[in-house]
Assembly symmetry: C2
Homo-oligomer: 421 residues x 2
């Protein structure tokens, strides 16, 4: 493990060492003669000795050292992490190759790993087939937003060829969502999910956006009501969160105690359900004045989302049945008027805003005519009512842990002007 | 589910339906009056009725239908899959949006999903922390091979800006390996793994290469022998494969019976271990003549790999300790002569060739001097002996199932000139 502290007394030498398997350090008790000048904060050591019951109340075990070998010394003077200091997250962010040795990032990444496993288990246990949806796609999806385009690099070539041809014959992009590919698969396996990276080339320095982030997406065939979709979102959230809380209690405690003492994620609460119509009424009747006046047909702004969550008692809130014109072509027409609302749902959570988005998909061929040919083909050959949703994994971690900045919940953050390592 | 066959008799109507949860169909027994002209191969149906014990030997259960509703009809004339036909894999490859409804691809993707879960479980159960290594990187890694470069797409813009600036300020690429990022993390968590997409812009139509493929990579700190690394590779292979074989016996049987009847993956065999020196000697003494003459210091060619595997009795073979000059800078010098060999290992398997590659990493600062600054930093602050490996997930599936072409073991294959959907 790596040395976290050295305390040298007359009679005895105390070391705290940590191998990254948990937040807690192992206390090593040694004869002062075993001390050497390479035994510093940050150095890597191999200790041999006996593991004994500790006389202290705060720990179970300690290691009575017989030999201590410094495997890799650490120059504490140039090492950017300092012993016994609580470095701000902004500070450690500068050292993408070393920040994982910081307590907070260590806990974060162990939690992220457990959450990843819990998400796979949740879907596996419920009979979903996992699909690796492609990263490179020739689709520009909803035509939505800013895409990254891909070409063969000419960096190592003598010069650019006179005529550039596309590697894939067509322009290729980094995926913004696996939904279309999941819909293909839901037409064969009924219940499918994916959990992979997605990309947006948005020039944003926001604490809620990254250029590369992870999404959990699920698609369910033979689903005729938004309630089914919401039930899966709610179950996913509660199951994964309770698994994480019970598997890494100490790591989670660090966040709830020091990073976001106000954050409360209670797992027994009721997830509120309101319609877009109701939401607009609530906002119109608010005593608060908004920068954007709430009006039927307009998108909910961050200030609106915040108000709705507060109005419902600071619990997660599903908002359903959005105006037809606000949502993409594939969402199912509710037929409550000519192109009036679609069966869409967003899940808003305290402190974050939108955590999940989903919808019933339009499975009826005439409603989709004049659209993408392959999308239509899926409707021609055994089309079924279906729906699905996506959840931003980083926002999920931000929410359950109360982490302000999204850059601190991903191992190597990518955003405009920054791609370290 | 979706209708797989309709058999109409005078007294009774038989349907086979399938919802993608397994290879086996559910037999539906109905009164002929329930038949209607939309009830065709490929159509989606909702059947209500009683699940009863089947009188037939070949199945456990059948469904006595009370109502049958065609949810989505299927125009069998234009549907490219035909009832009761065993379509060649090359044929269904043309229909990326429909081929998952083919039996073989259905089994393949269920197996792929189980293998994915088994890989996560294997590492989780052995105390590894899962890391999402980045897809976009500013590193060009080993300087190795052909990279994809990324830029913001100007497709939807009125015109290209006069001066292009990089979105990330620096040139950015799609990752070819998560190794360097895993090494960072192994310096904090001791044992880490990743399982994600990697990319090569190789202009190849080979049946063993894709532009986008998945790699399992692991990195272990405090590891001083190649044997430790090989043990993890072997355990990973055997544990995951036996899990897959026991979780989807029918799906696996389909491959071993119809796709590759000669394929034998026995899980109790011994994995052979030979050194590069021995390998060259074996090749030199071979009665066979090779296109490439075996010579110490030259890379092993496909023909050589094939011979070595055959020589060892058609079992997986570890080849270790390669010449210094053949391998990248980060591999550990064996110090058996001046820059003579490094502690590298490749795992060769029958029919595929290289399945895994790994090495001990050079942890000693002086051996790495004049290299990448960050790579050096990791060695300055608590450096430890460590090693790791990567396994190509698609090649793994090819091997255990005996699938000829790599394009058939991934949901949406990407290769030069092709990026469908």
């Amino acid at each position: 493990g790596w040395v976290r502290s050295v305390r040298s007394q007359k009679e005895v030498l105390f070391l705290h060492i940590n191998d990254g398997s948990s937040l807690e350090n192992l206390q090593v008790v040694a004869d002062p003669s075993l001390e050497n000048r390479d035994l510093t904060f940050g150095s890597a050591v191999e200790v041999q000795g006996k593991l004994v019951k500790s006389p202290h109340r705060m720990q179970n075990m300690e290691l009575k050292a017989e030999t201590i070998r410094v495997v890799g010394p650490c120059d504490t003077w140039s090492f950017p992490l300092k012993t016994k200091e609580r470095h701000p997250l902004e500070y450690v962010r500068q050292f993408p190759h070393l920040r994982c040795r910081n307590n907070t990032l260590g806990s974060l990444l162990r939690i992220r790993s457990e959450a990843t496993a819990a998400i796979h288990s949740f879907f596996q246990d419920n009979g979903y087939v996992h699909i690796h949806t492609p990263i490179i796609t020739s689709n520009d999806c909803e035509g939505a937003g800013e895409l990254f385009q891909i070409e063969v690099s000419w960096l190592h070539k003598a010069r650019e060829p006179a005529e550039k041809t596309h590697f894939f014959n067509v322009p290729a992009f980094l995926t913004v969502s696996g939904q279309l590919h999941l819909e293909v698969m839901a037409g064969a396996f009924t219940h499918v999910f994916t959990f992979g990276p997605t990309f947006r080339a948005e020039n944003s320095q926001s604490r809620r956006h990254l250029a590369e982030f992870y999404m959990v997406e699920a698609e369910l065939s033979f689903t005729e009501s938004l309630e089914d979709i919401m039930q899966v979102m709610e179950d996913l959230f509660k199951t994964v969160t309770s698994t994480v809380f019970s598997k890494c209690p100490r790591d989670v405690e660090l966040f709830h105690k020091y990073i976001a003492p106000a954050q409360k994620v209670i797992l027994f609460f009721f997830f509120c359900r309101i319609s877009y119509n109701e939401a607009v009424e609530i906002l119109k009747q608010a005593s608060q004045t908004f920068t954007f006046k709430p009006e039927w047909g307009c998108d909910l702004q961050t200030e609106h989302e915040r108000y709705l969550v507060k109005h419902c008692g600071e619990v997660p809130v599903f908002v359903i049945n959005y105006p037809y014109d606000l949502k993409p072509f594939y969402m199912r027409d509710n037929e409550d008027g000519p192109q009036h609302t679609v069966a869409a749902v967003d899940l808003l959570v305290p402190g974050i805003g939108e955590l999940c988005g989903g919808s019933l998909r339009e499975e009826r061929l005439p409603f989709l005519e004049s659209r993408l040919q392959r999308y239509l083909d899926l409707r021609k050959f055994g089309s079924v009512p279906h729906g699905g949703f996506g959840m931003g994994f980083e926002r999920y971690l931000q929410y359950i842990l109360g982490v302000e900045n999204i850059k601190d919940v991903i191992p190597f953050p990518r955003f405009s002007h920054s791609c370290l390592l």
